[in-house]
């Protein structure tokens, strides 16, 4: 006869409808205690500043004297009426989608390749994750060096193989600066998508593929009907995460171009930073922040709707 533990009454956890054990009061208390520390920190470091941001966005603040005056939606009106916000929003969208789509396609392709058996596969996998782990400052420094017009290797090689006649400075060119930062971003973040997809690919039972081959499916069909449904969910999640991170990325662009030339790469995070710490226009900067936050909520809500639809398909 099994003895139940005397100190705790057994816990109630819903586990696929298998076994239910009653939830004790002490468990409930324990649960709340275990959550308290993280709750405190989250409130202090995330919740409270967020509220503060909201409040700030309705004020006009003098940085030097720290005086603030309530001006309601004045900051928002100012921003939405002017052009610099909308231009910046557009640039942010271009930057986000421009990095996201190639990254996702590339990451998936690489994952598919790495899913095949070949010698040295684990080494290759390990090395391809590299770019993701290298610190952003380091990436920016190295790429700036490589793209330098006088002593950078990329210009040199491109000229040598005849693609260019004169060295160009990609981060200083109004037309190409955005492309330049996108390229660096793709280099750094594709491995993240690759890992996610690869992880999921490895859980697909190979019998499915064997069965498909027997049934006469070719590569493309087995991809579409077997592989794709499995990785779709991972892809959606990881693409959502990446787009949020990209939307909010400040350091990469700041280090590569500083937002220039002529503000051509000034995405919303850079706009916020400039307003806050260069122009000391704290009220307006906060308003930009609030708008960004709302946009992000919209983005993720929309995404989850899509996600649910995709789930239904599977």
């Amino acid at each position: 006869m099994r003895q139940t533990s005397s100190s705790n009454q057994s816990a109630s956890i819903i586990t696929n409808g298998k076994r239910k054990v009653a939830l004790g009061a002490s468990d409930r208390k324990l649960g709340m205690i275990m959550v308290t520390p993280i709750l405190i920190f989250m409130l202090a470091l995330v919740g409270f500043p967020l509220v503060n941001l909201l409040v700030l966005s309705t004020q006009k603040v003098n940085f030097l004297t720290k005086e603030s005056a309530f001006i309601g939606l004045g900051n928002f009106a100012n921003i939405l009426r002017g052009t610099f916000f909308w231009e910046s929003l557009w640039k942010t969208i271009v930057w986000t989608i421009g990095s996201l789509i190639p990254s996702s396609i590339l990451g998936t392709l690489i994952a598919l390749i790495l899913n095949k058996e070949f010698k040295g596969r684990s080494f290759v996998r390990a090395f391809l994750i590299f770019p993701y782990l290298v610190p952003t400052v380091v990436v920016a420094a190295i790429f700036k060096y490589m793209f330098n017009d006088l002593i950078g290797i990329i210009n040199h090689l491109l000229i040598k193989i005849g693609l260019l006649t004169n060295p160009i400075n990609i981060f200083g060119s109004p037309q190409w600066a955005m492309l330049g930062v996108i390229v660096v971003s793709i280099w750094k973040f594709t491995p993240m998508i690759m890992i996610a997809v690869l992880g999921k690919l490895q859980t697909i039972p190979s019998q499915l593929y064997d069965a498909a081959k027997i049934d006469g499916c070719n590569g493309w069909q087995s991809f579409w009907h077997i592989t794709y449904p499995f990785i779709a969910s991972v892809l959606m999640v990881v693409m959502l995460i990446r787009s949020i991170w990209l939307f909010n990325k400040w350091d990469m662009i700041f280090l590569l171009t500083g937002g220039g030339p002529l503000d051509k790469t000034a995405t919303l995070p850079l706009l916020l930073y400039n307003e806050a710490f260069c122009s000391y226009n704290l009220g307006r900067a906060s308003a930009v922040g609030v708008i960004m936050f709302l946009l992000l909520i919209l983005l993720s809500k929309g995404y989850f709707k899509l996600y649910e639809k995709a789930q239904e398909r599977v």
Binding site: G172, P261, C278
Partner: protein
């Protein structure tokens, strides 16, 4: 393996905690001499300067037992923010580094301690022209180094092309055309959205006979002189390396040091960099003054200062240390930590360089002394608003607090970019710049 990792992290944790400890308490001196402690905040973060400052601090402490100088370095871009924050928060501020406009601004707001006695002690005549910072008839900061812009010219390349050293804008333009061939460029100018570009354009505007602001602190960008300056920038840019759109100070230096450009404008730092990184051209260039326009001999020179906060709790010590730091051989050693780049502002100190026992200095003495002499011959509009009057200029001492906006909002550098990168019409760009600057000032009132 996990254990190793955790062990490593724990050790790192502990080591870090040791480093993160605050400063220690200061023993009181027994004699009636100088005692106590002050903070000394400097933004000179180059290794050579840090070393020399540490030495000087140690010497002073040895001379005055019972005294502690807490030497702090601030971040690169951060100095202003930190100092502003501290000053306005009433945090006791002792010896801090400030640049000319900021010092002027803070002096006007009454948060700096007057240093008249210090200046008199050193001797008012010992200061080179334009170095003292006088607001309402009081000195509010002690200069410790000049910051002057000169022209570096590769005389070997000039000779090969049969050219003389350009002395006017027209001659410069003609020269760079000829000098740009092969993989050599005639000149290098910054065109990034940064302070370097702003400064370079400011100098051209002044040289053309114009001002960014007038004496009433109103922007005057929509003028013929500004258009001329922009046109000049644009014309010169054609003979620059392709990458200037993201160039700042560092890239200008690197470009000249690389040997691939014939002419560059900058302060004295290039002297040492060339000797270290490209000794081949060390004897092949000369330091001269900026070429001028229409006979107006205007050069740029400014200074960097130390100031003492009004709420300093130990002014006697602060002034004593400041005097020690900025005079005699200490000042010389600071200056020589970047030979030519930090010309001394006291004539008595400049003379000491002649006999400074350092082979590098002695072998480059002519260039270094040119820099010294050039430092007392300059004009900085940020502290002399509206001082340029067409064919002459006046150091009127009108400090311009709005000049900071020009830098923060990158007004001038964006104008350069529009003209250089997008080939926009300089007249239109000047008009737009005028509007932008006026709006910024209005919005920030």
């Amino acid at each position: 393996m996990k254990k190793i990792l955790i062990g490593f992290l724990l050790i790192a944790f502990m080591m870090g905690s040791i480093f993160a400890q605050g400063q220690q308490a200061v023993p009181e001196a027994e004699t009636g001499e100088l005692k106590g402690s002050i903070r000394f905040v400097s933004g000179e973060t180059d290794p050579e300067q840090v070393e020399v400052h540490k030495e000087i601090v140690a010497e002073f402490e040895r001379l005055h037992p019972g005294v502690k100088i807490n030497f702090e370095l601030t971040g690169f871009d951060d100095r202003e923010k930190k100092i502003i924050a501290d000053l306005y928060a009433g945090v006791p501020t002792d010896v801090i580094q400030v640049d000319s406009e900021s010092a002027g601004l803070y002096a006007q707001e009454g948060i700096l301690m007057p240093l008249d006695d210090l200046v008199k002690d050193i001797g008012e005549d010992d200061f080179i022209e334009g170095a003292r910072l006088v607001v309402n008839d009081h000195d509010y900061a002690m200069p410790y180094s000049g910051a002057n812009m000169m022209m570096y010219v590769r005389t070997d390349l000039l000779e090969a092309a049969g050219l003389e050293i350009p002395k006017t804008w027209e001659e410069l333009l003609a020269a760079v055309k000829v000098l740009t061939k092969g993989d050599t460029y005639g000149i290098v100018l910054p065109a990034g959205q940064n302070n370097a570009t702003t400064l370079w354009l400011q100098v051209f505007i002044n040289q053309a006979g114009g001002n960014v602001f007038n004496e009433n602190l109103e922007p005057t960008l929509n003028t013929l002189e500004v258009i001329e300056a922009l046109t000049f920038y644009r014309d010169l840019a054609k003979y620059c390396p392709p990458g200037i759109a993201s160039y700042g100070y560092g890239d200008v230096v690197n470009a000249f040091v690389s040997g691939k450009v014939a002419i560059a404008f900058y302060q004295g730092r290039i002297i040492q960099r060339v000797a270290n990184d490209n000794p081949e051209i060390d004897k092949k260039y000369e330091l001269v003054a900026y070429p001028t326009k229409d006979g107006l001999d205007l050069q740029f020179a400014s200074c960097v200062y130390y100031a003492i906060g009004k709420n300093c709790e130990n002014p006697e010590l602060a002034k004593a240390f400041l005097k020690y730091l900025t005079t005699e051989d200490r000042a010389l050693r600071v200056s020589m930590s970047a030979p030519g780049h930090m010309p001394p502002v006291l004539k008595s100190v400049q003379v000491l360089a002649d006999t400074y026992n350092n082979p590098f200095v002695q072998s480059h003495l002519d260039k270094i002394k040119f820099s010294f002499q050039h430092a007392s011959n300059g004009f900085n509009e940020a502290v002399n608003a509206g001082g340029v009057k067409g064919d002459y200029y006046v150091r009127n001492g009108i400090i311009n607090p709005y000049y900071a906006y020009v830098r923060q909002y990158n007004v001038l550098s964006k104008m350069v970019q529009k003209v250089v990168l997008e080939n926009q019409d300089p007249a239109q760009v000047a008009a737009e710049g005028q509007k932008e600057l006026s709006d910024i000032i209005a919005n920030n009132k």
